[in-house]
């Protein structure tokens, strides 16, 4: 049984909006925080669009959508977080922004209120160091798109209270997701395993092993993967992957995480994947056939 019934979600970008939807769909009360009326409107609109998409796929009803939206209160003042059972930050991966916002949040919520981070780039310990009582800080790492992907990583830092981890397992299971407890290492578990593989694929594409399409087809038909690695990169966003793998590389010095040159070139040239309509598999596929 989860004991967290209300939650503040700070930052309504792609991840924050999806996570707010997941919490609200499970019956929780969500206080959704953005920095300006414009960004708040955009965030709430994207939740609205996600729910409409869910209706189109038969996963949600009109009445259900209204009920979900009714449980989400959009605000631009962190003071509205007073009294929530927990807070989850999904802010940009910038330590200065996180520090500024979280120190304000810490003054509003109770001293024991769990403060959770959806970071995929920074260590949980680093975020815990920004606020008083680091024992109440843990990682709750959702994957994109949050309403669809079932795995959620629960990250303990060296300070995290084990009792909090138990509460988070209950929370994640109440969302009909798979709770996986992981260590506070760069990339946690999934990204630490996934990124060397994705980087390898990009390098082999550049080296002319096969076309982007044939690499995806081979891995989908040969191994039964639902998504080929290059389709997956386009979906994740090449800029997002570059930032995340670069951060793990910086943190570990492990060459498997070093961004391959082609990845950087794609981002520099504005080919960011599905969101720009041009990536490895979307329109304007590069010709990288070796000679």
């Amino acid at each position: 049984m989860r004991d967290i019934q209300s939650i503040g979600v700070i930052g309504l970008g792609t991840m924050g909006a999806g996570i707010a939807q997941v919490f609200a769909e499970s019956g929780m009360t969500v206080v959704a925080v953005e920095t300006s009326p414009e960004t708040l409107a955009r965030g709430l609109e994207s939740i609205n669009a996600l729910l409409s998409g869910a209706i189109a796929r038969g996963r949600q009803t009109e009445a259900g959508k209204e009920a979900v939206l009714g449980r989400i209160q959009g605000v631009i003042d962190v003071a509205a977080l007073h009294g929530v059972d927990a807070v989850l930050e999904a802010l940009p991966e910038d330590i200065a922004i996180k520090r500024a916002v979280l120190s304000e949040v810490a003054q509003v919520v109770g001293p024991q209120t769990p403060i959770l981070t959806n970071t995929s780039v920074l260590s949980v310990a680093r975020i815990a160091s920004l606020i008083p009582n680091p024992a109440r800080v843990a990682g709750l790492h959702f994957f994109n798109p949050a309403p669809v992907v079932r795995t959620v990583e629960i990250v303990s830092s060296i300070d995290t209270d084990p009792a909090l981890v138990e509460r988070l397992v209950d929370l994640v299971e109440s969302l009909d997701k798979v709770a996986v407890q992981v260590k506070d290492r760069p990339g946690f578990l999934i990204n630490a395993l996934l990124f060397p593989y994705l980087n390898d694929v990009i390098q082999e594409l550049d080296d002319g092993l096969a076309t982007a399409e044939d690499i995806d087809v081979a891995l989908k038909l040969g191994l039964g993967y639902r998504t080929g690695p290059l389709e997956m990169l386009d979906l994740i966003g090449l800029d997002t992957h570059l930032q995340a793998t670069e951060a793990i590389y910086q943190a570990t010095g492990d060459a498997r995480y070093a961004p391959p040159p082609l990845l950087r070139q794609m981002v520099t040239s504005g080919r960011l994947g599905d969101k720009t309509g041009s990536g490895f598999r979307t329109a304007g596929e590069l010709s990288t056939e070796g000679s």
């Binding site: 996986v180 060397p196 498997r256």
Partner: protein, 290 residues
């Protein structure tokens, strides 16, 4: 494409599977093996597959009968004189593969295609056994061949365009999806699968997760049909060790080197489903629910 005469060399798991594919597609098939026992087992495997297909309603009685009658066995290479296509699926031994192609040069016609199902050796190296390396093409099927649509196609250094093009057409006539790759160790699938499985094993050894949490995390996050340890149990730890070691020997890239846990599991006989215990334990040793 009209029906051809296809020889499949080696009546092991892959050879029998490939012979099944050929017979089902309407080709006349000669399954070759040096051992009478292996040959009999291979033919039984193919017949068994067609019997199950009929039971499941995937083939009519008549189709099953025709497919079975399209298959003949032989222990003599001389019987392969009229083959249009030869697919070798013998042991992963370069000398053996080269030698068998060299012998076939004197038996088959000049236009016969030579296909090699090698998974870890160089197509160019195998082709060098033939005096006509331009007719040799790598065609790597996935196990179980009758059920998996993918075939990786790799030309050797001297493969001719006509041989490559005829191979693509032939594979399409089998209902296979071919992807074109280079003659590099592991082609596409093993090139990415082996380091992936090794890094999952290393994560387990390092305590980043448990067998169950890593399998569950991958299953829930990445859209794979099963977690890495379930897959290793099906592949077999001995096979994983062999493929990983062979790729490592060629690439000298430590990501391909099997982690120490693999050696320990092989030493203990915990090879996976086929021995009843690998990462998981099994009540029976059936690989596929047939």
């Amino acid at each position: 494409m009209e029906n051809r005469t296809v020889a499949v060399l080696g009546a092991g798991t892959m050879g029998a599977g490939i012979a099944t594919v050929m017979a089902r597609a309407g080709h006349h098939v000669i399954l070759f093996d040096v051992s009478e026992d292996n040959l009999r087992r291979g033919i039984d495997t193919v017949h068994g597959f067609f019997d199950v297909s009929v039971q499941k309603g995937k083939l009519t009685d008549e189709q099953g009968r025709v497919a079975k009658s399209a298959l003949h066995g032989s222990t003599s290479l001389a019987d392969l004189a009229h083959c249009d296509v030869v697919v070798e699926a013998v042991y992963e031994d370069l000398r053996l593969k080269k030698d068998i192609f060299a012998q076939l040069d004197d038996i088959v016609s000049e236009s016969t295609l030579f296909h090699t199902n090698t998974s870890t050796l160089s197509v160019t190296g195998i082709a060098s056994g033939s005096r006509r390396p331009e007719r040799v093409v790598g065609t790597h099927y996935c196990n179980p061949a009758p059920l998996m649509k993918l075939v990786e196609v790799a030309d050797g250094r001297h493969t001719a365009t006509w041989a490559h093009d005829a191979t693509i057409r032939f594979l399409a006539s089998l209902g296979k999806t071919s992807v074109v790759t280079k003659d590099r160790p592991g082609f596409i699938v093993n090139r990415f699968l082996i380091p992936w499985e090794n890094s999952c094993i290393r994560a387990l050894e390092a305590g980043l997760g448990t067998r169950d949490s890593i399998d569950a995390a991958v299953l829930g996050a990445l859209g794979h049909p099963m977690g890495p340890f379930r897959l290793l149990d099906i592949v077999g730890m001995d096979i994983h060790q062999q493929v990983a070691t062979r790729l490592y020997e060629q690439l000298r890239d430590p990501r391909f080197f099997p982690p120490p846990m693999v050696e320990r599991m092989v030493a203990a006989g915990d090879l996976g489903r086929k021995t009843g215990r690998g990462f998981y334990e099994y009540d029976d040793n059936r690989l596929f629910g047939s």
